[in-house]
């Protein structure tokens, strides 16, 4: 039952994913830990960065040797790009290397916050969609920008919950909620998740998925945290679909009020 949820796949650009958790591959203590964390996360899509090949040092092994690409789809990102042009070029390089049209689009606006430059992001989305890319843009939590991204052809919008790597959780649930009501494409919270309940909360709001990296990779025990995140995403999704009770200020007895033997 837990395993399945077969009727509740995440569908992005017509492709179905059994897990609503997307995981990054950066910052793990080593590749072995990453491999185990990816396995326990249950993720079927992982992000990777595109970087210059180091021509000198061949030691240390290759990231891809530790990812089961039969089960897991690679999603190249454009991390580190500060203009639409850089991001577009990196997306194209990623496509050539990965032989796939999917890209997690980032256009960073500033080094300290790593917040997106949304104007450039929309522009880059437009260009890449025209070139046939399936664009998953990392964006801020502004519903107007989300709608522009959808209009530009993004396959999903991925608002930040909090700054990348901050672990602060979803800072503005109201904005996420409004985005969910504004766009028709899937909404995936990307960045800011620090612990399991942060992921559950995202799903309970009605989000379609959660993308995270630091929260798992930099936990004291990344593999255990990866499993926690898998369960958190499922539990939040299930709770969302199950229909929670309303919040009330006062109590309501769970045991019968009559029939007490006195």
């Amino acid at each position: 039952m837990t395993q399945g949820l077969p009727d509740d796949a995440l569908v992005l650009a017509g492709r179905s994913f059994g897990s609503r958790l997307i995981v990054g591959t950066g910052k793990y203590p080593d590749f072995e830990v990453m491999r185990e964390a990816l396995a326990r996360s249950g993720a079927e899509m992982v992000t990777v960065a595109v970087r210059r090949t180091n021509l000198g040092d061949k030691s240390g092994g290759n990231l891809l040797d530790y990812i089961d690409t039969g089960r897991i789809m690679l999603l190249p990102n454009t991390a580190g790009c500060y203009t639409a042009e850089e991001a577009i070029r990196t997306a194209r390089l990623g496509r050539e290397a990965g032989l796939s049209e999917w890209v997690k689009l980032e256009v960073i606006g500033d080094e300290k916050t790593l917040f997106p430059d949304t104007e450039a992001l929309v522009a880059a989305t437009r260009v890449l969609v025209r070139e046939g890319f399936i664009v998953l843009p990392y964006t801020n939590d502004d519903p107007i920008v989300a709608r522009k991204l959808e209009d530009a052809g993004a396959a999903a919008v991925m608002p930040l919950g909090a700054p990348i790597g901050s672990g602060m959780g979803i800072q503005n649930p109201a904005h996420i909620r409004i985005i969910l009501e504004t766009v028709s494409v899937p909404v995936i919270v990307d960045a800011g998740v620090g612990t399991a309940s942060d992921a559950s909360i995202a799903m309970e709001l009605g989000c379609d998925g959660v993308l995270m990296n630091t929260g798992i990779a930099c936990a004291q025990n990344p593999a255990a945290m990866a499993e926690a995140m898998k369960l958190a995403v499922r539990s939040g999704r299930l709770a969302y679909k199950a229909g929670r009770i309303p919040r009330k200020m006062y109590a309501s007895a769970s045991s019968p009020v009559d029939g007490v033997s006195r």
Binding site: G24, T25, G26, K27, Y28, M34, T47, V48, A49, V50, R51, R52, T53, L55, K58, N62, L63, L64, L74, P76, N77, A79, R89, R92, L93, G94, R95, E96, A97, G98, L99, I164, G165, A191, L211, M212, N213, T214, A217
Partner: protein, 70 residues
């Protein structure tokens, strides 16, 4: 290696022997061909172009691969 080429690879100047193609360069650099991308003078090469694309002195070449990222 009197016929050597001087290339700029990933931002660094480098001398290599005369090589017939981009693909030969990759072999020379002992790079696996999987999951990498090559840009020649700011134009991304499709994988099928590697074989038939010659190298010229002063060419700027970028070779990228996937690394861990979020």
């Amino acid at each position: 290696m009197e016929t050597a080429l001087t290339l700029e690879i990933n931002g660094e100047r480098r001398s290599v022997p005369q090589l017939p193609s981009v693909r030969a360069l990759l072999a020379h650099l002992r790079l696996k061909e999987e999951r990498i991308a090559v840009e020649l003078n700011s134009r991304i090469l499709r994988r099928e172009e590697w074989e038939r694309t010659p190298l010229r002195d002063r060419d700027r070449i970028e070779i990228v691969q996937f690394v861990g990222g979020g």
